[in-house]
């Protein structure tokens, strides 16, 4: 019959393999696909960089941008595709937790913008000794 489901064909070799072997083969296939993907990204990077070779300062910026994007794409390819994992964006200061994944935010005082940008705001406070002081916050401000 035209619409009858066909029985799944399992090759004899696969029948003989254990579950562990089949899992190992699957991992090898995934690794080959991943390597192919990385090579493809490197080819794309090289191709785009060639287009800007021997150019001006502005082009140098674009080259850096292309390289940065390529590095990020390679990094992403190395990770599990279903998770956001960007080690290059992890904090590098003494408060860093290398087990943290995802995008970290800098909160160390030396990393806080003191220039009064839109992400930094300062409020007056009574300090613990009753003298006047200020507290600087980094965020979207007071809503």
């Amino acid at each position: 019959m035209a619409y009858e489901n066909k029985p799944k064909v399992i090759r004899d070799k696969d029948k003989e393999r254990s579950a562990e072997e089949r899992f190992s083969l699957a991992r090898q296939r995934a690794r080959r696909e991943l390597n192919e993907r990385k090579k493809q990204l490197q080819r794309e990077e090289a191709e785009q960089l060639r287009e800007f070779s021997g150019s001006t300062t502005a082009d140098a910026r674009e080259r850096r941008d292309i390289k940065s994007k390529a590095d990020a794409a390679l990094e992403q390819a190395e990770a599990n595709f279903t998770e956001t994992y960007n080690p290059s964006q992890n904090k590098q200061d003494y408060e860093s937790d290398v087990l943290q994944r995802g995008i970290d935010q800098f909160t160390a005082p030396e990393a806080t913008d003191q220039s009064g940008s839109s992400n930094t705001f300062t409020l007056d406070v009574v300090k613990s000794d009753n003298t006047a002081g200020t507290a600087t916050f980094n965020g979207s401000g007071v809503n």
């Binding site: 406070v125 009574v126 300090k127 613990s128």
Partner: protein
């Protein structure tokens, strides 16, 4: 170690704790101080009211404003009875401080009231009677008959996250012809 407290003010009153300085001084809108200290780029401030009888039969003069401290000394003198016609009304000199504060820990301010008799009359009671009230506490002050009388009261103010109000006043009365001068001083210690 107590936590820091976000600043309220610069003034506070019945309309809230984050009020700008009003166009004219009022005892319902008070400056909010950083305990006994000034805020960054600001001054310690107090609402100040004085009232004194002026020439006999012309009533009293009332002055209200905000003054900078925290060591603040204000005095006013009487000069005639409050009301005519029979001379039974007293002469009056009055000074009042009102301010608010926030504090992470308790602190102490010292109020000093000084009453001086400026003149005498040929007959009648020559004394000046005064009432000194420091943050709700009625501080005893003897009738002033000769040399100036000074009374000091230290008030410990508790820590407060929200603006807390402090008041102090000295009010002196005397018969017509016995002029008085009332002085009130506040200072952190």
């Amino acid at each position: 170690m107590p936590n820091a407290i976000l600043r309220a003010g610069p003034f506070a009153g019945t309309s809230g704790s984050f009020v700008d300085e009003p166009g004219s001084a009022s005892n319902s809108t008070l400056p909010v101080n950083c305990a006994g200290n000034a805020w960054v780029s600001d001054n310690w401030k107090s609402y100040v009211k004085t009232r004194n009888s002026i020439s006999t039969g012309t009533g009293t003069t009332i002055v209200e404003n905000y003054q900078n401290g925290p060591t603040l000394e204000v005095e006013v003198s009487s000069n005639g009875v409050v009301q005519n016609p029979n001379g039974t009304e007293p002469e009056e000199s009055f000074v009042e401080f009102r301010f608010s504060y926030q504090a992470a820990v308790s602190f102490t301010v010292r109020f000093t009231a000084t009453v001086t008799r400026l003149s005498t009359t040929s007959s009648g009671d020559q004394s000046v009677s005064s009432q000194f009230i420091a943050n709700g506490v009625n501080v005893s002050i003897a009738d002033t008959e000769g040399t100036p009388t000074t009374v000091t009261k230290d008030i410990t103010l508790s820590a407060s996250v929200v603006p807390s109000t402090v008041t102090a006043s000295i009010e002196s009365f005397s018969i017509e012809g016995v002029r008085s001068k009332s002085l009130l001083k506040v200072e952190p210690i």
